[in-house]
């Protein structure tokens, strides 16, 4: 067990190092003068005087070897200092806090909707395996996966904001601005959760301990509640965390359509404006969150699942 955690931890650190190196290198591989880009990210005012630039270059160590510069950058990043955004001239780390809150709200909302619908749907499909309801559910989930969010989102805006006028079309004002993005974001997780819920429910329904529970006098639904759900939940939990990480930074299209100021939108804006410190910061933060959540899930999964624990 400790061995397993240690291994995952080493991999986690390695990934973070690699990602941070890649992010650090962005100003050096793009077009444009790296020194000027970096100065712009560190100084409150634009520096144009060549003498000043030369002085600052020496002072900030921008003439040192790349490895030294990287360590300096990393040190600042570890303290939360990603520099100043080119467009807003404010520290990038402050922008992240707000954006992360928005993305987290959207992600958790979408996953909650997906989860609450998928569990009964998947369970019902498992119980009615091979019958019409099962086939219909299977097709429904396939269709959900195939829906582009940049198609369904405008359609929903058209219907609920423009034609019916009951929901805001975009922006971030109150809870009502969350509804449409949450619905759009929930569709694909809903499909995958349903498929996994169905599969793991089928496993569970055939599990010997379920029969033993029936033999102790529990009815079908009582045994499902007492023993089925928890066991079926393990695979869904892994999927849940995968989707959480994916939605935290990856809901760029939806956040852009609904003008929801989350991590994805921040990154998109940064790329459009070539806002280097913001790009670097977003990528490091999103990927770090993704791999940390993923690693933690794996560890929790192993701890919760006695059979896996025994093997490792």
């Amino acid at each position: 067990m400790l061995n397993f955690i240690a291994k995952r931890f080493v991999m986690l650190i390695l990934t973070l190092v690699v990602v941070s190196v890649l992010a650090f290198l962005i100003p050096y591989v793009g077009d444009g003068d790296p020194v000027r880009i970096i100065l712009r990210s560190r100084m409150a005012d634009e520096v144009t005087d060549p003498a000043m630039i030369a002085a600052l270059t020496r002072e900030l160590g921008l003439d040192r070897p790349l490895s030294e510069q990287y360590l300096g950058w990393l040190w600042r990043v570890l303290q939360g200092d990603f520099g100043l955004s080119f467009t807003t001239r404010t520290p990038v780390d402050v922008m992240f806090l707000h954006a992360l809150g928005v993305s987290l709200l959207l992600a958790l909302g979408a996953l909650a909707v997906a989860f609450l619908l998928a569990i009964p749907l998947g369970t019902a499909a498992a119980v009615k395996r091979g019958r019409a309801f099962d086939h219909a559910t299977s097709f429904f989930t396939q269709a959900l996966v195939a829906i582009p969010e940049y198609w369904i989102a405008p359609i929903l805006i058209l219907v609920f904001a423009i034609y019916l006028g009951v929901l805001p079309s975009a922006g971030w004002h109150d809870w009502s601005s969350m509804i449409l993005p949450v619905i759009v974001l929930s569709l694909r997780p809903l499909a995958y959760f349903t498929q996994v819920a169905r599969a793991s429910m089928i496993d569970v329904l055939n599990a010997p301990y379920m029969m033993a529970a029936r033999a102790r006098g529990l009815g079908v639904s009582a045994s499902l509640l007492a023993h089925g759900l928890r066991n079926a939940m393990l695979p869904i939990m892994t999927l849940f965390s995968l989707w959480l990480t994916s939605l935290l930074g990856g809901s760029i299209v939806v956040e852009a359509i609904f003008a929801a100021p989350g991590m994805g939108w921040l990154l998109y804006d940064a790329v459009l404006n070539n806002d280097v410190p913001l790009i670097q910061g977003s990528i490091v933060v999103i990927v770090a969150l993704a791999v940390i959540i993923n690693t933690l899930t794996d560890i929790v999964y192993v701890m919760l699942n006695p059979a896996v624990k025994l093997m490792s």
């Binding site: 986690l12 582009p148 359609i155 990856g250 760029i252 299209v253 977003s282 990528i283």
Partner: protein, 295 residues
């Protein structure tokens, strides 16, 4: 298992083989394949069949509702929407196809090598997969766009960079499973080289599930590529595809919902048809498994 393989290959040499082969396909596979092939044909034959030049502007005819001349109406520049929809899939479908093929090939090789080599190689590769699989692919795409600039090559590199991981993971499992069968042991006893075994025995025996996964993932890639085009980070003007059409149409959608609905529907149907193929292949495989278990 070896027996059925032999039987299958003799069946294929018989005259009625196409019909037999078709009869073995799941309904979903057949429907999806019919749909997808039609779409591909339309995309490839565009210049021959599209009623209008998709780029031809006609400002007198702009923003028209569907009519006998323009089945799907016209857009803000008076261009024929039907022609543009037929034309507009080429970029997304091409980028997604190339990506998925690269992902599958890389995943197959890494998965097979990982399983056959075992030990530290296996351990390292699989930990790499564990971590990469958690990377949101749009974010990876953003990184590459920020460094390489937008365009098809960037998209292909970006989506392949993490897209190979599920293939590798699945291939590794399949390889381990196949390796435990007798004919591999026999090949090993005959001192066949590692690559020969992978090439001659393992890859042919694992292609089915790999194809299923490739089709299932293809839809997702298609939607991602369209999404990046929608954001202006994929295909670059003056070229256009379904994603950019959707983005352009948003300003007119209250007046002309068709402009939004048509290109989105095209993506949806294409993605759904490949997903159906993938699901159908998966069902076929499960059915085969069940049959080989009961007999």
């Amino acid at each position: 298992m070896t027996d059925t393989t032999i039987i299958n290959s003799t069946v294929i040499r018989e005259p009625g083989r196409v019909r037999r082969w078709l009869a073995d396909r799941h309904l979903l596979t057949k429907l999806g394949a019919a749909c997808f092939l039609t779409i591909l044909l339309l995309l490839l034959l565009t210049p021959l069949i599209s009623p209008y030049d998709p780029a031809a502007q006609n400002l007198l005819q702009k923003l028209k509702w569907p009519s006998a001349q323009h089945w799907l109406g016209t857009d803000q520049f008076g261009r024929d929407v039907l022609s543009r929809v037929i034309h507009g899939g080429l970029f997304s479908v091409a980028v997604a196809s190339i990506t998925i093929i690269l992902c599958a090939v890389i995943g197959i090789v890494i998965g097979a090598v990982s399983a056959r080599k075992g030990g530290i190689v296996d351990e390292m590769l699989m930990r790499l997969v564990d971590l990469l699989i958690a990377f949101p692919d749009v974010v990876v795409a953003m990184f590459f766009i920020a460094t390489l600039g937008p365009g098809p090559v960037t998209l292909i590199i970006a989506l392949t960079a993490v897209g190979w991981t599920p293939f590798a993971r699945m291939m590794r499992g399949l390889t381990l499973e196949v390796s435990s069968r007798e004919f591999i042991e026999a090949a090993e006893a005959l001192a066949c080289s590692r690559w020969f075994i992978i090439w001659r025995h393992i890859i042919p025996n694992t292609l089915g599930p790999v194809f299923a996964m490739a089709f299932l993932r293809f839809g997702h890639k298609l939607i991602t590529v369209g999404g990046l085009s929608f954001l202006g980070l994929g295909v670059q003007p003056p070229a256009s595809d379904w994603g950019t059409m959707l983005a352009d149409a948003r300003n007119y959608m209250d007046r002309m919902p068709w402009l939004v609905i048509a290109p989105g529907l095209a993506i949806f149907i294409t993605a759904l048809s490949v997903t159906m193929i993938g699901k159908g292949l998966e069902f076929e495989r499960n059915r085969e498994r069940r049959e080989s278990e009961t007999t």
